[in-house]
């Protein structure tokens, strides 16, 4: 009885992990921007890792493999947000910047189609001062 419940719970966790993993991979492949791709990858990496390793833990039972799986989960929980942070910081320090939001509200004669061009032209002089971290 307990083993059946355990295997069902393990299968459910593994299936949920597969689902989040696939959605994250499709997001990384299809999103238009680097930062939105990083959003898809960073969120679903941690969540799918948690779900899949929890499912494997239920399969393993009380053994040394459970401790090793907990260690892997701990490592990934520490290193995955750190790698995402380092990636975003490196992208922001290099030429790949977020579009700068203009300081004053847009003039009424500016149409909505030209605001994107204004933002990109505003981002150009900001690219010079890379000393600001």
């Amino acid at each position: 009885m307990i083993e059946t419940l355990q295997s069902y719970a393990s299968g459910t966790l593994l299936l949920l992990g597969c689902f989040f993993m696939l959605t994250g991979a499709v997001g990384v492949l299809r999103f238009p921007d680097f930062y939105s791709r990083m959003h898809a990858a960073g969120i679903t990496d941690t969540l799918s890792t948690l779900l899949i390793i929890s499912g494997l833990m239920l399969t393993a039972g009380w053994s040394l493999a459970l401790f090793k799986l907990a260690l892997i989960m701990l490592f990934i929980f520490f290193t995955s947000p750190t790698a995402s942070h380092a990636l975003a910081r490196s992208a922001q320090l290099s030429a790949l910047r977020l579009p700068q939001i203009p300081a004053e509200p847009a003039a009424p004669q500016v149409s909505s189609s030209s605001t994107r061009a204004d933002r990109s032209s505003d981002a150009e002089p900001e690219a010079a001062d890379s000393t600001r971290v």
């Binding site: 593994l14 990384v28 680097f34 899949i52 393993a60 892997i72 990636l87 910081r89």
Partner: protein, 94 residues
Amino acid sequence: MLNATLIALLVVMTLALIRAVKGPTIHDRILAVNMFGTKTVLLIAVICFTFGEPEYLDIAIVYALINFVSVVGVLRYFEFRKRHGESATEVTGD
């Protein structure tokens, strides 16, 4: 269920590889390679339980550490290269 997880992991790694090959910038490639490494750790862990030999989980632990260190090292390299290039263009522009 473990076999389905294995297939899903292989599909996800293939999609990450496509992004790593296609990626327009260096950071897209690094993001895809980081994701590929994380999924490799999961793949090794699932393979251990598919074959019923949990001793191979040590390889997954070591791979998780190496993946993080390599990603941060590559990021530092490109960060300093970009900043050096920007300062060089500033000097020649003046």
